[in-house]
């Protein structure tokens, strides 16, 4: 959609090895619920995480411990109160919390992919187009983009009769596979996975694990939340453990 020149960061990039793709430092995030008497919920307090190319780091811990909040912060969906999130975007380091909105849009188009648990569907838009959208926005020719998606749909065993339908009426597992195809179609250097296999059967779980391995081999840096322990143990090299807050 757009080519963007980046505003220089106010702080110099940290001294990180060339293999690092993502470096989050001392993240703090507190939610203030103004509609509920101004209750303050501190969720992240000084969280740091470094991910290198070819690594998959698992976020673990009880529900409510802040895994998803960190994940959403790494995508710039939640806005952190403090700390920095350095990402290597087209050869230069950028700090997500410092970016202008249009710059963050560009980082999300090219550098950081995100597989959420839920697919936001648009009525009337067929599954093929939903999944091809990120490629089309990057300016990839429609036929090439659709071919890439078709291959992924096939690998993920998404029945052909569904390809031209809007995912509005799809089952949870079908929607999830559309979502996965959407994110894996683009070769993002950084990929965030929020329970990508929660609604899948064993066969398709295997396919997703295979896709993750392929991305790792291609030098992608991944961060994931996996409730399925087998999946986590197989694809992740490290864990970042969250403790429940009181």
């Amino acid at each position: 959609m757009m080519i963007t020149q980046f505003t220089p960061s106010t702080a110099p990039p940290p001294h990180l090895s060339t293999e690092v793709r993502l470096h989050a430092e001392a993240l703090g995030k507190t939610f203030t619920l103004h509609t509920q008497g101004g209750v303050r919920l501190p969720v992240l307090d000084g969280v740091s995480l470094t991910v290198k190319a070819g690594e998959c780091v698992a976020l673990t811990g009880a529900s409510g411990s802040g895994k998803s909040t960190l994940m959403r912060s790494l995508y710039g969906n939640y806005r952190v109160d403090s700390g920095s999130i350095w990402v290597r975007h087209e050869g230069t380091w950028v700090d997500l919390p410092q970016l202008q909105p249009h710059e963050l849009i560009a980082v999300r188009q090219k550098t950081i992919g995100y597989v959420s648990q839920f697919l936001r569907v648009i009525p009337r838009v067929p599954a093929l187009e939903v999944a091809a959208e990120p490629l089309l926005e990057l300016g990839v020719a429609p036929e090439t983009a659709l071919d890439t998606v078709r291959q992924l749909f096939e690998r993920l065993n998404l029945p052909k009769r569904l390809w031209h339908l809007s995912p509005t009426t799809f089952s949870g597992g079908e929607k999830q596979r559309v979502n996965i195809a959407r994110a894996f179609a683009v070769g993002y250097p950084v990929l965030l996975l929020d329970e990508p296999t929660s609604a899948l059967d064993a066969t398709n779980r295997q396919v997703v694990m295979q896709l993750i391995e392929e991305r790792k081999a291609a030098g992608c840096a991944l961060v994931g939340i996996f409730h399925d322990e087998d999946v986590r143990k197989q694809v992740c090299s490290r864990e970042l453990m969250f403790e429940r807050q009181n």
Binding site: M2, F31, T35, H102, I105, I122, R124
Partner: protein, 256 residues
Amino acid sequence: MPPLLTVTHLTKHYGPIRACDRISFSLYPGQVLGIIGESGSGKSTLLSCLAGHLPPDEGEVIYHSREGNLLDLRTIPEAKCRTLMRTEWGFVHQNPRDGLRLSVSAGANIGERLMNVGARHYGQIRGEAQHWLEQVEIDCDRIDDFPKTFSGGMQQRLQLARVLVTQPRLVLMDEPTGGLDVSVQARLLDLMRSLVRNLNLSVILVTHDIGVVRLLAHRLMVMQHGQVVEQGLTDQVLDDPQHPYTQQLVNATLVP
């Protein structure tokens, strides 16, 4: 890539009331900027000031024209401003009857904007009208019918066609789905979404409907009492609302 539109400290008073209080933002090509807020928050006044329907009291509006010039909309001659509004800019009214001429045919409604900028060849104008009717999913058989015989949703799509025929770069929309049924709304939203992408349009979209901005807007500004109280990417503002007013707005939304 430079911004298409840069607004700095735009202010508009109605007597003692500040309807718009030092509003600043930049809009980039291909972006949809949503503006939400309750009635009286100043969002429609802001849109009217940008469209030249109302003179702002203070502030600057700089537009980067198709020829690559930076135009200060407050200082360029009025005639130049009117030409811009007919060519590079478009305005979509909430009520299609404010944007259409009901006493002429659908085809003439679309053709009129082309004739305003000098098109004279009847066959070409009619061809363009047919093309844009197709783009907004209106049956070409209806080209000679009057808009008053159209349903509300069709009238709104016709208004879009009338605006898009001159291939504007910036479209201002005031509650474009406001008076429509939910199912008709969904179709219009989906249509607008694909048009925005295929035509690389920049849009400023004023609405009070959170579902509409969620689907269409890349960025969001939240207005209250004439001020911008929160802004960011649409998903940031809606998933992690920080200002008390935004939280109230998001919490009040029913999720089906």
